[in-house]
Amino acid sequence: MIKLYDFELSVNCYKQRLLMSILGVEFESVLVDFFPGSEHKGEEFKKVNPLGHIPVIDDGGFVLRDAHAILIYLAAKYDPTGNWYRTSDPELIGETAQWLLFAEGTTNTASAARLHDSLGYPFDIDECRSGAHKLFRVLEEHLWFREQEGLDWICSGDHPTIADIAIFPDVMLSEEGGVSSQPYPAIRRWTDRVKRIPGFVVMPGIFPAATA
C-alpha cells in the first residue's frame, strides 16, 4: 500500500489525500509531527526527504517528494480514465503544467500567509498577501470566462484535473492568512464545484458544500 508521510493540517498533504480519495486509492498515513515538533526538519526524516518537507510518498519502494510531482504520479498511475492528468495531448500537458506552477505560486503566497498567521512562520506577510491577491485576480478572470464558456474547471475540457486539486486548498484556506476571497466570486463558485466531485473529502478548516 502507498505510504503517505502526512500531516493533517498541511495543504500539500491534503492535496494527496484528496486525489487518492477521489481515485479510490488506498493509502496509509504516516503521521509526521510537523507542528509543533518540526519532525520533518529532523535527521531521521531527512533520510526520507533530504529537503525536509512533506508530503512524501513511498509506493512499494518508489519514493517521491513535492506535492505537485506526487499528484502527477498518482494521476498518471492510478487514474485509468486518464482524465485527471491528460497526457494524450501536448497542449493539455502544457496547460496542466502551467497551472501546477501557478499552484506553486498560491502555495508560496496564500498558504505561506496562513503558515505565518497560524503557526508563526517568519515570512513577509505583506508580500505573501499581496502576491496571493495578484494571483487570485488572474484566477478569478480565468474561471469567470470558463463559466461563460460553460466550463467548470481550470484546464480545458469538461473534466477536473490535478490542477484543480493543486490550487483548491490554497484558495479555501486563504482567509486564515488574512487573504479574503470575497472579491473573487468565480473562484468561490469553483470551490463549491470541487467540493461536489465524487469522493471529495475535507481537511480541517474546509467544510463540505450543499449537494447540488
Partner: protein, 571 residues
C-alpha cells in the same frame, strides 16, 4: 457609443452582483459601504439578500450552505427560510420548533439589467431605482465586474475622464452604449459593473466580454497605479447594523395575533372530497411556516377554521392547505368547497405550531389517516429535504382519496399507502408498523380519533416512551407552562391588563402598544426583563440566577408568569 458612469448615494440603489453570480445552491458574499451580505437564490428562483451574520453567534452566513430552500449556518446548523429569513430549526433544541420568531435581517433584492440590486435603506422606494433610457432590461448585457483597490470616488473621477474603446470585432454591439455602475464595496474598494445596451450575437459574446474585460482591466491598472496602490487593502472592519434593528421577525411585534389578508391563487380538486387551496399574500411576504403548523382561516361567513399547512421547506410564496368536505359541516368546509374561488380574499392568522417536528431522530415514523395527511406531509417533506431517515404510512380509503399525490410521489419509496383497510385491518397494520421501540426513534400520528387511539395503545404496549410519541394537539411543544391566568398592573402608567393562558406578558404588553425590547423570546437573553414591584412570579427563564429568582425583583416578560393573581410591574 456613449459611456455613462453612475453610482448611487448611501441610501440609494446599488448593484451588488450579476444575476449569473447566483448559481444553484451557492451563497454569494456581497458587500456595500462596508456592510456584508449573504446572497443566495433558492430553487424557486427567489433572490435572498441577508445581513451576512447568523443571528445566534455572528458567523458569516456565506460560509454556510444553500440547500435550495433554506440557508444553513455552518456553526450550529440553524436553518433560515427562503423569502422570510425566518429561523425554522435550531438543532441544539429539537423540541423547541415552536419558540423562535427571529428572522435574518434581510434587504430588498431587485434583478434588473442582469444585475442584482439592493439598498441599505428600507425606506428607499423601488421607484428610486432609476430606469435608464439607454438600457432595456431585455437587451442589457452585463460585463465581467472589475474590482478595484481604490475608493469609488477616486474611480468615478477617473472613469469620467477616460476613453473606452469599442470592439471592432463585434458588429452586433458596435452601436451599443456602455453604462458603468460603480459599487462602493467599503472605504477602500469598489467594483465597476459594466452593462452594454445591446446583447451581442451568441458567437460574438465571448469576444465582446473579453474585449471589455481587457479594456476595463487596463483602466483598473491605470487608476490603481495613479492612486499609488500596489497591494490589496486590508479588509475593512465588518459593519454591523445597530442591535435594535437586528432580528425580530415580521410577526413578533404587535401583530402576532393579527390576521393578514391572503388571496386564493389556485383551487383544485386534489382528491375525492378534498379541495386544495393556495393562498398568497395580498401584499408583502407571508410569515415563516414550520412543519406541523396550522393557520386559522377566517371565512366569509365569519367562521374561523384551522387548517394544517402542507408547505415544504422554503416554500413561502403561498400557503397550501387541503380542505376535506365534512358531511356534517356547520359552514366551514362546505363554505370553502361551495363558495370560495380563485381571486377571493380571506384573512389568515400567523402560522402556529402545536405539532412540532423534532429532527434528531435516528428514524421517524409518520402515520397519517385520511386528511390527517396534511401536517404529516409537511413533516415528511422537511425530513426528506434534509435527507433524514423516515417513513410515511398513509391510511386512506382508495387511490382517489389520496390528496397531494404529486407531493407524495416526489417522496418516492418513503411513502406507503394502505388502501381500504377496515378498522380491524388498520389496527393489525398499526401493530406491525409501531413495533418495538429503540432509542432515538420518534412517532408522529395524525388522523381520525379511532386511529389515534389504536396507535397510542400500540405504542404504549410496545413500550414507546411518551416523549417519543407525538399526536397533533396533544404534545406540549415547549417546556414552558403557559396555562396560568393572571393580571398585570403597570405601576407607572396605571393600566391593568389580563394575561390569558397561552399569551405571554410580553405579547400582552406589545399588543397594548407598549414598546418593549425583546430578542430570544424564550427566557434566555434578558432583553425583555422588567422590574417587579409586587406579586409572586413564576420565572421559567434561565437568564436570572437562583438568587435573583428568589428575591423576585425582576422577571422576563417573554416566559415568566405569575403564581399570584396579579403582578405589579415597574412600567
Amino acid at each position: 457609443m456613449s459611456v455613462t458612469v453612475l453610482s448611487g448615494t448611501k441610501s440609494g440603489w446599488h448593484p451588488i452582483a450579476s444575476s449569473s453570480d447566483l448559481v444553484d445552491r451557492h451563497v454569494y458574499q456581497g458587500q456595500l459601504f462596508g456592510y456584508e451580505f449573504a446572497v443566495w437564490r433558492s430553487d424557486d428562483g427567489f433572490v435572498n439578500i441577508w445581513e451576512n451574520r447568523c443571528l445566534h453567534r455572528g458567523v458569516r452566513l456565506s460560509v454556510g450552505t444553500n440547500d435550495g430552500a433554506e440557508l444553513v449556518c455552518q456553526y450550529h446548523g440553524w436553518r433560515y427560510a427562503n423569502r422570510t429569513g425566518g429561523v425554522t430549526y435550531i438543532p441544539a433544541h429539537p423540541a423547541d420548533a415552536n419558540t423562535h420568531s427571529s428572522c435574518a435581517r434581510s434587504y430588498v433584492a431587485v434583478e434588473r439589467y442582469g444585475l442584482i440590486w439592493t439598498t441599505l435603506d428600507s425606506e428607499t422606494s423601488l421607484a428610486d431605482l432609476e430606469v435608464l433610457d439607454v438600457l432595456d432590461d431585455g437587451q442589457a448585457f452585463p460585463l465581467r465586474p472589475i474590482d478595484l483597490w481604490v475608493t469609488s470616488e477616486t474611480t468615478i473621477s477617473h472613469l469620467e475622464r477616460i476613453e473606452i474603446g469599442c470592439p471592432t470585432l463585434a458588429d452586433s454591439t458596435k452601436h451599443s452604449d456602455l453604462v458603468l455602475f460603480v459599487q462602493p464595496v467599503d472605504e477602500r474598494r469598489c467594483v465597476v459593473r459594466g452593462v452594454l445596451s445591446e446583447r451581442p450575437d451568441d458567437e460574438a459574446k465571448i469576444d465582446v466580454l473579453r474585449f471589455y474585460s481587457a479594456e476595463l482591466g487596463a483602466v483598473r491598472d491605470g487608476i490603481e497605479k495613479s492612486a499609488g496602490v500596489q497591494a490589496a487593502p486590508e479588509p475593512a472592519a465588518f459593519k454591523v447594523h445597530p442591535a435594535v434593528e437586528v432580528s425580530i421577525g415580521l410577526s413578533s411585534a404587535t401583530n402576532r395575533q393579527a390576521a393578514v389578508p391572503v388571496r386564493v391563487r389556485r383551487r383544485w380538486n386534489t382528491a375525492t372530497d378534498v379541495v386544495g387551496f393556495e393562498l398568497e399574500a395580498v401584499s408583502g411576504q407571508l410569515s415563516t411556516v414550520k412543519p406541523g403548523s396550522h393557520i386559522d382561516l377566517h371565512l366569509p361567513n365569519a367562521l374561523v377554521r384551522q387548517y394544517s399547512v402542507v408547505n415544504a421547506p422554503g416554500e413561502l410564496d403561498a400557503y397550501t392547505i387541503g380542505v376535506k368536505l365534512d358531511p356534517t359541516s356547520t359552514g366551514g368546509s362546505s363554505t370553502l368547497h361551495g363558495e370560495v374561488v380563485v381571486g377571493d380574499e380571506l384573512l389568515v392568522s400567523q402560522p402556529r405550531n402545536g405539532f412540532p417536528l423534532r429532527r434528531d431522530a435516528v428514524h421517524t415514523l409518520l402515520i397519517a389517516g385520511g386528511i390527517g395527511l396534511t401536517p404529516i406531509l409537511a413533516m415528511a417533506q422537511a425530513l426528506d429535504h434534509q435527507g433524514l431517515p423516515y417513513e410515511l404510512h398513509h391510511f386512506v380509503r382508495s387511490q382517489n382519496h389520496i390528496a397531494f399525490a404529486d407531493r407524495l410521489e416526489a417522496l418516492g419509496t418513503n411513502v406507503t399507502h394502505h388502501l381500504a383497510l377496515d378498522p380491524d385491518e388498520t389496527v393489525t397494520q398499526l401493530q406491525r408498523l409501531i413495533s418495538s421501540y429503540t432509542d432515538a426513534k420518534h412517532l408522529y400520528v395524525c388522523g381520525p380519533a379511532p386511529m389515534l387511539t389504536a396507535a397510542r395503545a400500540t405504542a404504549s404496549a410496545n413500550e414507546w416512551p411518551d416523549h417519543a410519541v407525538h399526536f397533533e394537539y396533544f404534545a406540549n411543544p415547549t417546556q414552558q407552562d403557559q396555562s396560568s391566568e393572571f393580571e398585570i398592573a403597570l405601576a407607572r402608567s396605571a393600566v391593568t391588563l389580563p394575561v390569558r393562558p397561552g399569551e405571554s406578558i410580553l405579547e400582552v404588553l406589545k399588543n397594548a402598544g407598549i414598546s418593549m425590547a425583546s430578542s430570544c423570546e424564550q427566557g434566555v437573553c434578558g432583553t425583555c426583563g422588567v422590574d417587579l414591584i409586587e406579586g409572586e412570579p413564576d420565572h421559567q427563564d434561565v437568564y436570572l440566577n437562583d438568587t435573583e429568582k428568589r428575591t423576585g425583583k425582576r422577571l422576563m416578560t417573554c416566559v415568566s408568569r405569575a403564581k399570584s393573581s396579579r403582578l405589579v410591574l415597574d412600567l
